[in-house]
Amino acid sequence: MSAMTSSRAHTGSAPAVAAARRRRNAKLGWNALGLLVFALAAFPVYWMLNTAFKPAKDAIDPTPHFFPYPVSLENFRRALNISDFWGPVERSLIVSASTVVIGAAIGLLAALAISRFAFRGRKVVIVGILTVQMVPLVAMIIPVFLLLNQIHQIDKLSGLVLTYLTFILPFTVWTLRGFLVNIPKELEEAAMVDGCSRTGAFLRVVFPLLAPGLVATSIYGFIQAWNEFLYALLVMSQEHETATVWLGTFTTQHGTEYAPMMAGSTMMGIPVVILFLLVQRKMAAGLTAGAVKG
């Protein structure tokens, strides 16, 4: 009797055990595939760091060294000495920061208009901003160059700021609008019922709630401006080049030396990656909020 029940229990649990094992094996398979994806996605970044931190002569060994051992900062020193690095960085910082500050100020006003007011022509404005965002900037480079030439803004940081506003502004308006729509209007109305003016309600109630989104949008815009290459190449002369152009035209007397170049890439790329890691979650939420509705 007891033997029978135990055997029945055994046959009953065997498929369950098998299924569990199959699930575990499947999970193992997916994880292995996932690690392969990770390796492929991360490889260029790893290779950049690996090359930057190893002695220059190891970088040009026919058999690649997969670990930067011994760790050396020689490449960084070389990259800094080959040509002025901090000048371009300073110019890039000035341009990116000015673009973001102006873009955030103007963009916030516009975002408020299209998210908090009902007015005739609102839909046209929204469609217009979306369309403008779609215009490929490369296609605009010739007339923009002629315009800057006309108003004497070639080789001036202010000219570069002006051109960067073309892509920072529509993006800022659109993203801030996304954050604003998610702040309930009832809060603002309650403040106004309690005696706040419209401006007061915005400053005391909406703005504190919007601040994190505003910061995320600004940092994202900053990265976009920092990374821009084409207009920086065209508008600025070589002696006033920005950081991206500095790296893009990185050459030494001995032709292209990859090891210092990777050190330069590391200095340009890693701060951006860290900044981006800080805001990415917030931005992804803002960009896709409500996108899957119909």
Binding site: M48, A113, L137, A139, V144, F145, K185, M262, V272
Partner: protein, 332 residues
Amino acid sequence: MSAAETTTAKVPPRRHSSPPAGDGRPSAAPRRTRLRLGQAATPWLLLAPCILVLVLVLGYPLIRLGTLSFQDYKKPQLWGFKPATWVGFDNYRAILGDSEFWSVVVRTIVFAGFCVLFTMVIGMLVALLLQRVSPWVRTLINIALVASWAMPVVVAVTVFKWMFDSDYGVVNWVLSQIPGVDYSGHNWFASGPEGLSVIMMQVVWGAIPFVVITLSAGLTQVPKELEEAARLDGAGAFGVFRYVTFPIIKPLVVMMTTLSVIWDMGVFAQVWLMRGGHPEPEFQLLTTYSYDRAFGVNDYATGSAIALLTVLLLLGVVAVYMRQMLKIGEVE
């Protein structure tokens, strides 16, 4: 509309124009009208700086792009020694009659097409994979994706150029480890298609993170019960994806695809940097071709005409994107 429904500024336009006659309080009417006008002007005042800047730096150049393409505009005109003269459709006739232009068009479309295809397919597969792996693997992949997303294009291009270097590149070394394969000293940029494939790899590598992260966010909104029900009804993994998952995230897929088309048709820095500022004829895409015409040989008018044709080529894609945005109500 939800955003504006309860704002105090909402003024129904029709009532706005109705005369205040019969109101019984005629003295109050003008004041109220002025108040309403003031409120109607507020959004436009808020929009004014934004519109002003966009008109100056985007609207004006866009019109200028059109007019330029019908002019004769070279170095003398740039320096102001000679006025620009109108030449009608001459520039377009010259471009459209040039077989080189057509080969550039075909190359650009093939290049962008494959970029978009690989980006979307691989992006979708990775997004689906992310749902099936353990949390720690997901975190690892996410970090790698965000890092490659954030990489400035210039940096990414530089790194790829180094990886595919003919003498010391790691890719040639790895390929040479396969028995019977010798890639040492192989020059990836000796032929156009091979070089453009390397550039394509870089573009796809940089574009996938955005697609994966957006699609992952979309996939979390697919109700688990629906997939479960389909599975119980006997649908295989592919069936569940095809009939349940995909229809729900389709709006996102359409948007990602249209955005990718626009971005990949606009690839410039990658080609320009990989070829050291002088792309060979078999590397030219519409963007670099237009740039070369304008700033290489100082024929700004022809360059503009090529750029305008590129924009026209993209107009259809932009229309699809806008339709999708209108459909999902993002514009309301």
